[in-house]
Structures are given as C-alpha cells and as structure tokens.
C-alpha cells in the first residue's frame, strides 16, 4: 500500500466505478452470505451476514438505473458514523471485481456523472480518472435513508 493512497476504487457494474475513503473499508468478503429482505428496494434487497452481524447490502447499479450484478461474488464491507447520532455502522457494497487503492487530490475534482440524478443524493464529490468521472460515495446518505430508484 502506497502511503499516499487515500481512496478505494471499485467497479460496481461493467466499466463503471465509484470510490470511498480508504479509512471506510473494513473487509472484502468473497461469496458473501446474503439473506433477501421482503419488500426491500431492488438496490438494497438483502442483509449480508458478516461477523455474526446482519448488515445492509447495497448494489449501486439498480440505484442509477442499470442492471444489477448477475451473481454477487464480492462484498466490500464498509464502515461509517451515522450522522444522526454518531454511532459506528457497517454496510456492504456489491462489487463485480476486486477493488484497487488510488491517490486522489483536489486537483482531480470534477462534476458528478450526468447519467443519474441519484448521484447527487449519494455522493460527496467526484474526481476524474482518465476519461471517467468517479463519484466518491457518502455512506451515511447511502445506508441511512431509503432512496428512490431511478427508472
């Protein structure tokens, strides 16, 4: 790990990436155990059993109107502090392939992708990586509210 790495970049559907802070990563889980939750929204359809906890499992693709993963092989367990009460919480993100660590500076800041209005609700900011605008997720916003799906 490079000392300058400060973010984790992951692919959530074919060719599309998002990022979170390196300090927000807890664990990468292979073949996560998922329990479907009745009446939960498509992007957040299951609980992921991790270290005897049941944590929400989120897929970004359906949230922005894209097809979800056909088979979830990887779950990135993340942690954050709930804005409402400061409690530490955990959640899991569905990945289509392994993540990688990157260094992100202020000089790479750019506008959010224009393909979905959902990004404005779930991203802190965005940076340019080659020719892709990569949103940096706001985990509190992603896990602490029920979001409307973009059709």
């Amino acid at each position: 790990m490079n000392a300058r790495h400060n973010a984790v970049l992951f692919e959530f559907t074919s060719g599309r990436h998002a990022a979170i802070g390196l300090h927000e990563v807890a664990e990468l889980v292979m073949s996560p155990r998922l329990v479907p939750v009745p009446l939960a929204p498509d992007y957040c359809h299951s609980l992921c059993i991790w270290q005897d906890r049941a944590i929400p499992f989120v897929e970004l693709a359906p949230l922005i109107g894209q097809r979800s993963l056909e088979k979830t092989r990887l779950a990135l367990v993340v942690t954050y502090f709930a804005r409402s009460n400061g409690e530490q919480r955990w959640g899991a993100l569905g990945l289509s392939t392994y993540f990688r660590m990157v260094s992100v500076g202020d000089d790479a800041a750019c506008l959010l992708p224009q393909d979905s209005s959902a990004w404005a609700s779930i991203a802190h900011s965005c940076f340019q990586l080659v020719d892709e605008n990569v949103p940096i997720l706001n985990l509190d916003a992603l896990f602490e509210q029920r979001l409307e799906l973009i059709s």
Partner: protein, 149 residues
C-alpha cells in the same frame, strides 16, 4: 432495539422465516383441508369455524396466483376484526430464549411494510411481521403481481 421477542411463533414458507405474535394465531390447519378443490379454492369453503380466505405468499410477500400445494399447513391469523390464512411449510415456537430484535436498516424499511425488524435465530434470519399490516399488505394492489406459486 433490545425488546425480547417472547411469545412469537416462527413460520416458514418459500424459504422465508417470519416471526408472528403467537396471540395472532387462531389455529393451525392441515393443508389436506384444501386438497381436492380447484387451485384457487378459498378456505372459507372448507375450514369450518374459521371461515376465511387463504393465501400463499412468496418470499417477497407477494400474493401468489395459486395456492402453493407444496405447503403442509395453513396458519389462520387474526388481525383486528379480519381473519385470514396463509400456507406455510412449518410452524414452531421460537427456539431461543430472549432473542434480540434488530430494526431493519433505514435503507430497506418503509412505513407500510409489515416487516420492521429481524432476529438472528441460530443460522437463520427471521423477520418480525405485524399481522395487521400484513393483512393490509395482502389486500393492497402492491401485493398482487403476476407470479406462480
């Protein structure tokens, strides 16, 4: 949420585990009561004394078009003045003492859902289901999608 889930029954259908308040259970009937009729038979025709409609639900709590003949039992439930039955594979008392109820994460809950919390029961996750809200859900348009039991 640290409320003990005493007085709950654990029912299972279509791979879904639901915790139901035992006080809401009127009776447990054998599915054989429904056999011999057409696929969409109403239990009111065959369960004397508990006249009510019977539904089969999917794991997503969608009302199936047909009664699931693979189920073994019918649980007859009372929700306020409404009585209804659902087909189930199994019914048992909660096999653990003083389980901890956890609220569903905010991203997957909504006010009209009959499921608001869950319990980890040994290797399984069971969802606590409010029978009154379940009855309203079953009778709402959202619960009636095209599907096969």
């Amino acid at each position: 949420m640290n409320t003990a889930a005493a007085g709950y029954a654990l029912i299972c259908f279509d791979g879904l585990n639901l915790l139901i308040d035992q006080h809401a259970i009127v009776s447990l009937e054998n599915m054989i009561m429904l056999k011999g009729g057409d696929d969409e038979v109403k239990a009111s025709e065959v369960i004397e004394g508990n006249a009510c409609e019977v539904h089969s639900l999917t794991a997503h709590l969608v009302v199936a078009n047909k009664i699931d003949a693979r189920c073994r039992y019918i649980v007859v439930l009372q929700a306020d003045e409404h009585r209804f039955g659902i087909t189930v594979d199994s019914v048992q008392s909660l096999p653990i003492q003083d389980p901890i109820l956890h609220l569903l994460p905010a991203c997957m809950s909504f006010s009209e859902s009959p499921v608001k919390a869950y319990v980890q029961v040994e290797e399984r996750v069971a969802f606590c289901c409010d029978v009154g809200t379940l009855w309203r859900h079953i009778n709402s348009s959202e619960s009636r999608h095209e599907c096969e039991a």
